[in-house]
Symmetry: C2
Subunit: 159 residues, 2 copies
DNA sequence: CTCCTTGCAAAGGATTTGCACTAAC
DNA sequence: GTTAGTGCAAATCCTTTGCAAGGAG
């Protein structure tokens, strides 16, 4: 969706004031809900779903509607402040928009960051005449440590 | 989901009789519907959605319910005879299960094969202690030739 | 004749949307 | 005051499922 490159803002590293600026510049308003959702996402490494963000917020006693969580997350993605991850099950959101790769557990659906360095040269790939590449993604699939143990049982948490 | 490696069956190259065998061996029956769906998928390079397969079949005058198309496609995926592709929009199905990569147009959602050779070494990546990697995927995103022209207009066919 | 499949319609999960209301700017 | 954002419920999209009838082995 959004174009990414080295030096692109990542939610984690940006002071709130700057995020505020970015939103305002796009005539987006700095509301209580957006602040809460941003805060709920900052620094997270677990790539939560909209539903998870929603639940975490109300677990903290604050209230934001699920619709607003979705609207905000998608809006932030459009601004390039978060990254949307697609796969089996509901979409997940990553506050780290810097180029990096993911591992997805085929059993529980959880997504983890992978430390393999980003391969800039892959963005230079010629897919064919007339194709324009914005970026690439690499996703590994398999079992995460905790699902590896319970091979037999059916576990679908986090979907 | 399914483990893939060089030499794994690809729907395109397998004689129907062999597919029949594979199904029977798993106590799956060789029905009119399954034959039709398999035929509709064979040799296709456009990674259709279940809905598209469904429509193509009834355009040919044959009738299979959408539920059966879904059930069959998912069953074939479980047998490793087709590959499921996730992304924005509905799932797509690829009759070619040999290791290869994809390009997805962010405007129309169409998926294309990418000629970049499969990097076996990436399956050896150590994600972390306790992780088991089954395979990896690389997906490029950007604009396909036909969407590149109509940048301004909103085009969402094929979703 | 047994068990797997199908079709249909209903159910389900994930996500979006219409609308009246509220709150930024 | 304007205009964008919110909550809520309804709507939508994609997909799965329950069940009775049909068909393969």
């Amino acid at each position: 969706m959004q174009r990414r490159s080295l030096g692109q803002p990542r939610l984690d590293g940006i002071p709130q004031a700057v995020i505020m600026q970015m939103l305002i510049m796009n005539s987006l308003r700095w509301t209580r809900q957006r602040k809460l959702i941003l805060d709920a996402l900052r620094g997270r490494k677990d790539h939560p779903t909209a539903e998870q963000v929603y639940h975490d917020l109300r677990a903290k006693g604050t209230t934001v509607s699920l619709a607003t969580v979705y609207r905000t997350l998608r809006a932030l993605a459009r601004q390039g402040l978060v990254r949307e991850l697609h796969g089996e099950g509901p979409d997940r959101f990553d506050p780290d928009t810097s180029p990096h790769y993911h591992f997805r557990c085929t059993r529980c659906g959880h997504v983890f960051d992978v430390a393999v360095p980003y391969k800039d040269e892959l963005d230079q790939v010629v897919v064919g005449p007339g194709f324009v590449v914005s970026f690439h993604e690499i996703t590994w699939e398999g079992l995460c440590p905790s699902c590896r143990g319970r091979e037999g049982s059916q576990n679908d948490e986090g979907r």
